[in-house]
């Protein structure tokens, strides 16, 4: 084989890989767009969590300053598990996962497809929760830096979450198990995201109060996307 055919071969491979990812994402989004069950559940749940926090923590102006970041991330984390569970359970229940696995594509493409669609759901929910929260508590949450933190945090959360959710749906205890598996290992993401968001909301110094946390988020996202990429094969293997 000449080097030229090798290069085109690789190109074809890459193209089919990204095509497979796009197909999985598209399938999930189309299904969700028609049923809207996952999205509406996540959204209503998030709003309820904020409502509960409002009374549990007495969110007056003073406490709001210090707890907003925490309230937001607890809300995202809980709504996130709801979404992750549902998105994998749908695949499992109707035997779709087997169908997906039979497809002659790299398994990693399935993982990335699922992870990206989960990320999209989470981001849509966040995109609605943020303005609602801003409106209710007269805080401007639309700062570019804060949005970046939310994006990075969500990527980390979803990258491990998708892998663990595909493990959890294959066990007897199923949805109960996901938060128990997920929360102890995403603690770095939650801590850094809360700290970085808090830094932005209280107007902290960028280099000392925000940057270290963003670095942690970046490192975590990279490491765990890589691990999930390498181990997903073992999780869905029959």
């Amino acid at each position: 084989m000449t080097s030229k055919t090798l290069i085109t071969d690789n190109k074809v491979k890459n193209a089919s890989f990204s095509k497979a990812i796009a197909a999985v994402v598209w399938k999930d989004l189309a299904a969700e767009f028609r049923s809207r069950e996952l999205f509406s559940a996540m959204l209503v749940f998030s709003l309820l969590v904020i409502l509960i926090f409002n009374f549990a923590l007495e969110l007056d102006i003073k406490t709001r300053q210090s707890v907003t970041a925490g309230v937001l991330w607890v809300t995202f984390a809980f709504a996130g598990t709801l979404g992750l569970n549902r998105s994998m359970a749908v695949e499992k229940d109707r035997g779709c996962l087997d169908g997906l696995l039979l497809a002659p594509v790299d398994r990693a493409a399935i993982y990335f497809g699922k992870a990206i669609s989960n990320l999209v759901f989470m981001l849509i929910v966040e995109a609605i929760v943020l303005p609602v929260y801003s409106f209710l508590y007269a805080i401007n949450l639309f700062q570019p830096g804060l949005l970046l933190v939310i994006l990075l945090g969500s990527i980390g959360y979803v990258s491990v979450g998708t892998l663990l959710a595909s493990m959890a749906v294959q066990t007897r205890t199923r949805d109960v198990l996901l938060p128990i598996l997920l929360f102890p290992v995403v603690i770095p993401v939650l801590i850094s995201a809360v700290k970085a968001s808090g830094g932005y909301l209280t107007g902290g110094d960028f280099t000392t109060e925000i940057l270290p946390w963003i670095n942690v988020l970046l490192v975590y996202d990279l490491i765990f996307t890589a691990i999930a990429f390498m181990t997903f094969d073992y999780v869905v293997e029959e």
């Binding site: 491990v160 892998l163 663990l164 493990m167 959890a168 294959q170 066990t171 007897r172 205890t173 199923r174 198990l177 128990i180 598996l181 929360f183 102890p184 290992v185 995403v186 603690i187 770095p188 801590i191 850094s192 700290k195 270290p212 946390w213 942690v216 490192v219 975590y220 490491i223 765990f224 691990i227 181990t231 073992y234 999780v235 293997e237």
Partner: protein
Amino acid sequence: MQTKPTALKILDIVSVLLLAAATYLALFYAPEEAVMGQVQRVFYFHIGTAWVGLLGFLLAAIMGIVYLVTHDQKWDIVEMAAVEISLVFFLITIMLGSIWARPVWNTWWTWDPRLTTAAITELIYIAYFMLRAGIEDPDRRARFGAVYTLIGGVSAPITFMVIRLVRSIHPVIIAGNDPSSQGTFAMTGGMQVAFFFGLFAFTVIFIDLFWNRIRLGNLAAKVEQLKLNITN
């Protein structure tokens, strides 16, 4: 029927003797610490158990990788043995630490990096066993267990560093002189003897338990196989 290997029997006895000797050194031989007094004697076992917990934790993560590469059931048994021992020893470490912290830090618990990471590691281990309990197929159970120990093994150090960015008052006994930590002390000769002997004793105890647990795991796998043969 498999009888217990003689070497293991001897190791059992040696472990018990070493534990007794380490107890003697920690409680009577080592001099009393000037500031903290008798309660500081908890330190010798606190470090010993923490060391064993850490050893088990590292072994478990490595065995997870080895299993995923080789797909040999025996590594799964080794991995589970490591997790189980580490779970128990970290729990002992946390309890001993609390006993030490109450008079020295004036609190049973503080959200310091080491304490928090140890607690989170315990939660990861509990999740690990809940995950295993929910799967019947031994092959899948082993695969999921291996993947989860790998994830836990990577995430726990990151958790540690992250919380370290937040704060720390835990003393660093060896090569550490952070002025903000409370309860630091310098080790004198007698203390060092008790300390290093404690580490040695707990390492031997770890090996002994590890060996016994692997043996138990092998026997359990055999029983499971025999049961399957009967039902088929």
